[in-house]
Symmetry: C2
Subunit: 101 residues, 2 copies
DNA sequence: CGTGTAAGGAATTCTGACACG
DNA sequence: CGTGTAAGGAATTCTGACACG
């Protein structure tokens, strides 16, 4: 695991780095947008990747997105990627669809 | 500044990552071997680079080095690097010393 | 010299709830 | 729905000191 994905950043630094409030960060977690680890005592630990993620989420919310929209769009995206992958495999195996004509 | 040098890691994670005690980490700081930043409240913040540094220091201490040795050796090293740089510049400009003969 | 520890305080973070809209 | 806030408690971290060797 590289530095970017290692969960080592506490809440204080997170609010500094993202500009978000503790409330916002915890709320996004409760909605399944970020997944911090915990210390034995229960404190949250985030990665630099999480920082980028939070900033991206905040940006989308400012653009009028709702949290559910963000989650669903990403679900569709990963489904599409999966479908595209399967389709590509089928295509290379059978060439079952007309190209260009 | 990249992720490796950004000071975002608190004391708790530092002791986990390095295997050192808080006492050791603070003592090495008091001797000038690491330079954490501070939160407004006064808590120390370290970088991944500091983590590597601390592990290296601990390793040398186990090998029988003293903290002063570690500091002085590094001072000599950086002096040598500086001298080498200057010597190289002089050499390329004047060729004042015999090579090989 | 390098490290452990008990002491007391201050800063940090957590959860659940009430509020607004 | 997304966020602010006051409340109370628990976990975290800090400093300065005494101890050992």
């Amino acid at each position: 695991m590289d530095y970017k994905s290692k969960k080592v950043i506490g809440m204080g630094v997170i609010t500094e780095l993202t500009g978000l409030s503790e409330r916002q960060v915890r709320y996004y977690e409760s909605k399944g947008l970020v997944f911090p680890e915990r210390t034995k005592g229960g404190s949250r630990k985030y990665s630099f990747h999480d920082v980028e993620r939070l900033i991206d989420v905040a940006s989308k919310l400012e653009d009028g997105w709702r949290i559910q929209d963000i989650k669903e769009r990403e679900k569709r995206l990963s489904s599409k990627q999966r479908d595209d992958l399967i389709r590509g495999q089928l295509n290379s195996a059978f060439r079952t669809y007309p190209t260009k004509k």
